[in-house]
Symmetry: C2
Subunit: 307 residues, 2 copies
């Protein structure tokens, strides 16, 4: 499975979705941000995940974002858009659209409104989505984020999906923060591509055979995250300096709503207040939060790279 | 506020959404079910709530259901469709559509994917929805169901919404099962229309000034629920027999996934297996569950009315 050239390895930013003043997605700013991430070492682009506020956009808006990035020249083969939704019909349409347009992978949340459902119903949801897409080009990454979705992926369910859709269900983004769960998945599912959703588990999971990471903090710390990844992957060496930077950034930023904090940092970096908008139910940081965040970040020996 | 003739009082079924074999909504069966409920004492129709699997349908499907019922002659002024969604844009469109087509009220979930958000962002979401609809005909009922949405309505938020939108934000459906919360809302917000989402709190909340109920079990026990409501409302009398029936039914049915159990009961009642389908992530009851459910229901001195 790992030999599949389509598999997105390495460091992926959980890309922010900048907004226009009317709260519509700002494709221009987003394209520039994606280019900047790729220029600074991003192997791929985890667009429209939780950090990218995907579930705060409509199906049409999400398709427009992906199409807009493609038209602007972002290599969609490097993107892994979140295509999950509360209902399987929207998820199936979004996933099909992402494959049709050439996205490298699809990050799939389980249907997440009804809680307490069993694996059988979740399996049927994925079965319907995958059969609707009906393409060998589909690469599904399961999006395990029980703190948001309320629906954890059991290992039994993952096993059923991997068995039923070999070469299609190829990995997981685990945003639970539960490092033990990630290490267990690597053991149980040979060749499964496990992407931690935060810096905390990144290095340990990488050492155990992880595929890389898809993280929010990479929006501002891509170069350092790539140094951690490359040092280990190419030389089995821990880049202590880079690792210290991403851990320190994570520790500070995790004290705030992630998308709001990262957008505040982007706004400051670019001197562009337009970066600051988030969609409700998120709100932008208050003046006080912003000042505290900036002060804390500035104690870290780190500068967001200019390019 | 209670003098508003638009307010939906009394017993409302949380109406099931029957499906065709291809999982599309079956408007014909649903129309017949609504007619049957109204003929058996339903004051209103809580369509497309959690029992109606609303979040498992697309925006277009949800609009089609409402339009289909209207065309088939169901009095939409008696309906309170769920119009909430994970994103405020879809919720705004659904709510506007429901008002434009003449629905009596709109049952609004908070945006429910991102957890841990504060009241400010939730307020902005509702503000955007209500301003998008921009109609004095809008009557919003807040849908408090933290077990599913993960987003409780704080009393502070309710207070802000009632103050900001008097005559528009007029009530709540509380499916939390927390009777104390319902009684407190009645005290804190004079004239607020509090609908318990299950039989357990129905009578006590009614005695304290509650507006009625919107419940899943009413799909099969409408006549008994209406007897409880009418006896108290008209004569301040508790109909012990009817109350015992709805409590007993609730106790049995709550041991199963509600929509699946109720659809199984409808399928048996009508001798119509087509009633049995649910959308994933729900699954239909197993043969064993079905047999156990039917056996338990049959110990209750109760028959689903023929008409």
């Amino acid at each position: 499975m790992n030999a599949d050239p389509r598999i997105l390895k390495g460091v992926n930013a959980a890309v922010l979705t900048p907004l226009n003043r009317d709260m519509s997605p700002d494709i221009g700013r987003m394209t520039a941000h994606c280019q900047w991430l790729l220029a600074n070492g991003s192997d791929g682009l985890g667009i429209l995940g939780t950090t990218g506020e995907a579930q705060s956009f409509t199906v049409r808006e999400r398709m427009d974002i992906l199409e807009g990035l493609g038209k602007a020249g972002i290599p969609l083969a490097k993107t892994m858009p979140g295509t999950g939704a509360a209902n399987y019909v929207d998820a199936a349409e979004l996933t099909k659209h992402s494959v049709d347009i050439g996205a490298g992978g699809a990050l799939l949340l389980p249907p997440y409104y009804i809680k307490g459902v069993g694996d059988d119903g979740l399996f049927v949801s994925f079965d319907k989505i995958i059969n609707h897409v009906a393409s060998n080009d589909l690469r599904v990454y399961l999006y395990h984020f029980p703190q948001m979705s309320g629906i954890p992926f059991s290992h039994d369910l993952i096993d059923r999906l991997v068995q039923a859709f070999p070469g299609i269900v190829v990995g997981v983004k685990d945003s639970s923060g539960d490092e033990q769960n990630m290490l267990e998945m690597l053991k149980k599912f040979p060749g499964f591509n496990v992407f931690p959703g935060s810096e905390s588990a990144f290095l340990n999971v990488l050492k155990a055979g992880g595929a890389g990471c898809i993280t929010a903090v990479s929006n501002v710390a891509m170069a350092a995250a790539q140094r951690v990844y490359s040092a280990w992957t190419n030389e089995q060496r821990v880049d202590q300096g880079a690792e210290a930077i991403i851990q320190a950034l994570r520790t500070v930023i995790a004290g705030y709503p992630l998308s709001s904090a990262l957008k505040a940092l982007m706004a400051r970096h670019h001197g562009d207040e337009g970066w600051d908008g988030v969609r409700p139910p998120l709100v932008s940081l208050s003046e006080q939060q912003r000042n505290e965040l900036f002060a804390a970040i500035d104690t870290i020996d780190y500068a967001i790279p200019a390019v």
